[in-house]
Symmetry: C2
Subunit: 357 residues, 2 copies
Amino acid sequence: MRLTKTVGQYLLGPGALASLPDLLTEPVRSSQDRVVYLIDHVFRDGGLIARLPVTPADLVLYVDTTDEPTTEGIDAITAGLRDGPLPVAVIGIGGGATLDSAKAVSNLLTNGGAAADYQGWDLVPRPGVFKIGIPTLSGTGAEASRTCVMMNHARQLKLGMNSDHTVFDRLVLDPDLTATVPADQYFFTGMDTYIHCVESLAGRYRHLMADSFSRQALDLTREIFLSEDMQSAGNREKLMVASFLGGSAIGNSYVGLVHPFSAGLSMVFHIHHCLGNCLVMNVMEDFYPRETAEFHRMRDLHGIRLPRGLCRNLSDAQYRALFEATIIHTKPLINALGDDFRSILTLDTVTGIFQRI
Amino acid sequence: MRLTKTVGQYLLGPGALASLPDLLTEPVRSSQDRVVYLIDHVFRDGGLIARLPVTPADLVLYVDTTDEPTTEGIDAITAGLRDGPLPVAVIGIGGGATLDSAKAVSNLLTNGGAAADYQGWDLVPRPGVFKIGIPTLSGTGAEASRTCVMMNHARQLKLGMNSDHTVFDRLVLDPDLTATVPADQYFFTGMDTYIHCVESLAGRYRHLMADSFSRQALDLTREIFLSEDMQSAGNREKLMVASFLGGSAIGNSYVGLVHPFSAGLSMVFHIHHCLGNCLVMNVMEDFYPRETAEFHRMRDLHGIRLPRGLCRNLSDAQYRALFEATIIHTKPLINALGDDFRSILTLDTVTGIFQRI
């Protein structure tokens, strides 16, 4: 039993972004107070910046989200911010990678040290800088979760800074911000919610509040992705709510089989989290038969094409690397299959699954 | 669009109460620091007190919940606490009346003045004393809501201190604490969740997050009250979660027809909120036909007997008083029936409904 920290305050609705100045009146006390904006680089050339209440004291940084966040990347951003006065707020505007970057930078600014020092569970001693999350993509749940996932290339692992201090203080949930997301990305990211809720509810571990959040998030993703226009204004708002609920569930539940295999793809082939999840979910008929069939229906309904054959004809060493990078995730695998999961997930079985991807 | 404040942290599970000392390590810094326990008087003679980490510096007060909280009662409790040092935490242990009392006292201790000064919306300027809620009854949602409802006899109204500062900082959700609730009270209180979620989802006003919370809470209450043993350990935990979710929804939604009629009963006949709701829901077939039938099924399944004929053969003045105390609640009535609700809820119609109670 663990004390569950929740996001302190959120504002939901089309146009919510316009209220950002109101959300800053508490932390910003003088015109000297610095707010740091970390914005997904896809917005570099758009009109988003003009809609933000940026003052001369503030700093706007674009986060390159071509690859997932790394501990080195987070350290570099933080180093650039250590010279000036401590910011009074860090605002992340983007998808999961940007939101996670904002959470990590906020914690590092007050705690010192390097990002890798805090990868793990409850290693962050002090609250970070006041942080606001503004998702522009829905599905990862990063806006609601108590972690920020970073690749650590030195240690060859992908691990989050799991801490109550990682939770955003405030969220702006404005579905207008997801209006221009390409269909593929909208689908892949949205499916992250579907997938982690499926995994959680099929697992052995139970937490009633997490189950409730997961069930509701799952219902919403079904409504969205089994309807004709998954990107209608109504569905975009629904997906923003589903992502928040799914993210709220994560802290009190475990994922299952999809995330470990997806982490394998991510570690060995640098495939992004959400695409990796979809590639795995696509071939999960032996473990989640009903949900895999439903996933196929949703995929086909929206004409989403997944790359195929990514893991065919690899070397034994590569299959071994994928296997190792998958079965290292013991907690979710035990949640899915029990303590004896290694007797089911043999090298042969795991290789067979990757070959079907 | 309003910034939604949520409960900061919660601990859920059987036996969670034993972790209360851990939840107090932050606010309590020295042995001189005072924690105030406001406990429902039904626990006066039980073993509950022995399970609490009460120190010599602390104060334990029993709250008489025979009647619902009044502004005078809250002022009296607060006055008794003003002499000593400002408490570092206020802990409410009980049903909705006790939790609401704890929230009100916490706010008054730091803000000064009288309870009636803050009845309304967003009138509390400063955060209250750190407050922990420990429900021993499930259903009102008081543990999650941003209000604390008090009767104000001088002004002849029943109104809450609606404020972000009214939200508990922490909750202990321990279903073991509801094991000894009498069946009638368990049913009446639990039905509060069912009823306010039914009202909210049938209303004209929509908020997607509130809808999600309400739907999930409604699903849980159906599972609980349509099963044979509504008070099984599993169902008690479910109801604790449902109550929290329903309470989380309330802040972003409006109730409908049941609560205004119930408030009328409460104002004129001092009938408790949850019983009042059930008395009204019992005769709502013209407005919520499916849910009224379902309510009857649940009532009969658990052998719950409602008092009948309470409002038969009253004087015209009494019916007029009930009518006035009902239709004063314009927001929920507009939510339920539209701006034109007075053309539907005439004195005759309203009287007819009360006569059937």
